[in-house]
């Protein structure tokens, strides 16, 4: 167990150093959600008090504009880079276990996600927004969301991308429609009923709805149970899918 933890920490530490060195990427992961939060917060305020609009906008922006690009796009880019730099092959020769590698990445992106949460809610706070519900419950939603995104990132990274140029394609093709359908940038109440029914299959919808309910409306566990159950199931599903695709990618790499 200590060996496993040491391996996980080694991977996390390495990724964090790399992310910090690539300052530009980190800056964009902050700039994009910040601008989106300001824009949508001010648009929904409609010239009056920003308190309610920032309350309502912060959770969606955190999930859709912050986590989506860092925790989904990040692992995809990471896996592609490991392949291109041939470091993946070196890792295969080492005793590093795939599970350590995966959780090492999850840990690194959890750190990034917490940083983004502090920034997004910090800005919302300046405009009068508040986190009204249980912080622990909010934390649980954030952790499940990060796991889901990283698991999905593993799937896309190992399944659809071989080169750096391939990274944006699957993320944009599959991810952006899910963002829109998930009510990231506008309330799902404006969706027609058939799209709303479809939205229930979208994990981002459940992330958004759960976090909005807790953060903006102060709802409790019982009120968001359906979303939590879906998110937990989706987390397990993407972890399974990600692990399977990753194993298949490793088999290809082993063949050289």
């Amino acid at each position: 167990m200590i060996k496993l933890l040491n391996e996980i920490m080694a991977v996390t530490n390495r990724i964090m150093i790399e992310l910090i060195r690539m300052r530009r990427g980190l800056i964009f992961w902050v700039v994009f959600p910040t601008l989106m939060l300001l824009l949508f917060g001010l648009i929904y305020a409609g010239g009056s008090s920003t308190t309610k609009s920032f309350d309502a906008t912060a959770p969606g922006i955190l999930i859709g504009a912050a986590f989506f690009f860092s925790c989904l796009g990040g692992p995809v880019a990471l896996i592609v880079a490991e392949r291109e730099r041939r470091t993946l092959r070196r890792l295969l020769v080492s005793p590093l276990k795939p599970v350590s590698y995966f959780f090492g990445i999850v840990m690194a992106y959890l750190v990034i996600a917490f940083g983004q949460t502090i920034i997004v809610y910090g800005i919302a706070f300046l405009f009068g927004g508040r986190f009204h519900g249980s912080l622990l419950l909010g934390l649980l939603i954030i952790v499940l969301s990060v796991f889901s995104f990283v698991g999905a990132g593993f799937y896309f990274g190992s399944r659809f991308t071989k080169r750096t140029e391939d990274v944006n394609g699957p993320v944009a093709a599959f991810g952006v429609p899910l963002l829109v359908l998930g009510g990231t940038f506008f309330p799902v109440s404006i969706l027609p009923s058939y799209l709303l029914a479809l939205a229930y299959l979208d994990p981002i919808f459940h992330m958004n709805q759960a976090l909005k309910a807790v953060s903006a409306l102060g709802k409790g566990m019982g009120d968001i149970a359906i979303h939590l159950i879906f998110l937990a199931a989706f987390t397990v599903f993407t972890l399974f899918l990600g692990a399977r695709s990753y194993r298949s990618m490793l088999r290809q790499e082993k063949k050289g």
Binding site: E7, V11, E18, R86, R89, L91, V93, S94, P95, L96
Partner: protein, 311 residues
């Protein structure tokens, strides 16, 4: 140290390794030579437990290949496979941790490697800011961080300039004294000649000739080699045959296998009347062994044919 017996591997219908056997002793530098597709990379992948063999056995220090033998093997891939945004020291720290090194043991090992590979000036420099030669050194240091019993060097000097290559050769020679056994694959015969205590020539998945260089030299039926360029190749070859000298044509030049040692003047006089563009006398080297052995190899094994003439 490493014992490979009867290794077989096929990909579909293509036989890549065909009852491959060799062994590498303690402190040996074993050179595995062969053309592309001869099976070198497949052999390395099996040794590193990346691929399963179809048949045969491998043991490293008496242990069959498994996840645990990963600790005994250090691989230096042909490509620079390290993290470019990390410094030399950070790369070493990362790989040391995933090989289970911790605390002072980790720090001591990293410092020792930095000293041994003379990386002191670059220990805190990002790999992306280093020249090719220094990156190669870090690439090697990473493979040594867990003190493996065997170091596999896959074409370690490919793409390096001559100066960096010589420096790396010196480094590899020094590893021999640190108790690690080395398997070296290379296309550069000079590299194998200078570094290896034993050499195996691989063709179509099996070793067709093996041994120390002195032993391998005896596979060439010559005491000396004359390499000649001339416009009248056929006339030259006919004359050489009349002396009982064998000849070959390699790379647009005629190679004569001289049964005795001659002076340059003696050889030139022998071909009096034939216009020679260039002539040089050489000792029998690995290049001649390699060409001779691969030329004469059939599926039955080594078949040296001292009858002369081109085939």
């Amino acid at each position: 140290m490493i014992d490979v017996r009867g290794l077989e591997k096929s990909f579909g219908d293509k036989v890549v390794l065909d009852k491959l056997s060799f062994s590498i002793g303690h402190n040996d530098i074993y050179g595995l030579l062969g053309p592309n597709g001869a099976g070198k990379t497949t052999t390395i992948n099996i040794l590193c437990n990346l691929l399963d063999a179809d048949a045969g056995t491998i043991s490293i220090q008496g242990n069959p290949i498994s996840e645990t033998t990963k600790q005994l093997v250090g691989l230096v891939p042909q490509e620079i496979s390290i993290y470019q945004d990390l410094t030399c020291k950070e790369n070493l720290q990362f790989f040391a941790r995933i090989y289970g090194l911790q605390g002072s043991k980790k720090a001591d090992r990293i410092n020792a490697l930095i000293n041994e590979l003379k990386l002191n000036t670059y220990e805190n420099v990002k790999v992306s800011n280093m020249s090719g030669g220094w990156r190669r050194r870090v690439n090697i240091a990473v493979a040594l961080v867990h003190s493996p019993a065997i170091l596999i060097l896959d074409e370690p000097t490919a793409g390096l300039d001559i100066e960096a290559r010589y420096e790396l050769w010196e480094l590899i020679r020094n590893f021999k004294h640190s108790g690690v056994s080395i398997l070296l694959t290379t296309h550069q015969l000079e590299e194998a000649e200078r570094l290896c205590s034993r050499i195996g020539i691989l063709q179509k998945g099996c070793i067709i000739a093996e041994g120390p260089l002195d032993k391998l030299r005896t596979l060439v039926p010559a005491k000396q080699i004359a390499v000649i360029e001339t416009a009248d190749e056929q006339v030259l070859c006919d004359k050489a045959r009349s002396f009982g000298w064998e000849h070959r044509r390699y790379g647009g030049r005629v190679t004569l296998l001289l049964p005795e040692k001659y002076t340059l003047k003696d050889v030139v006089n022998k071909f009096n009347g034939i216009p020679l563009s260039s002539i040089s006398l050489q000792e029998v080297g690995l290049e001649h062994v390699y060409l001779e052995v691969t030329r004469n190899h059939s599926s039955d094994g080594i078949k040296l044919t001292p009858t002369g003439g081109d085939k």
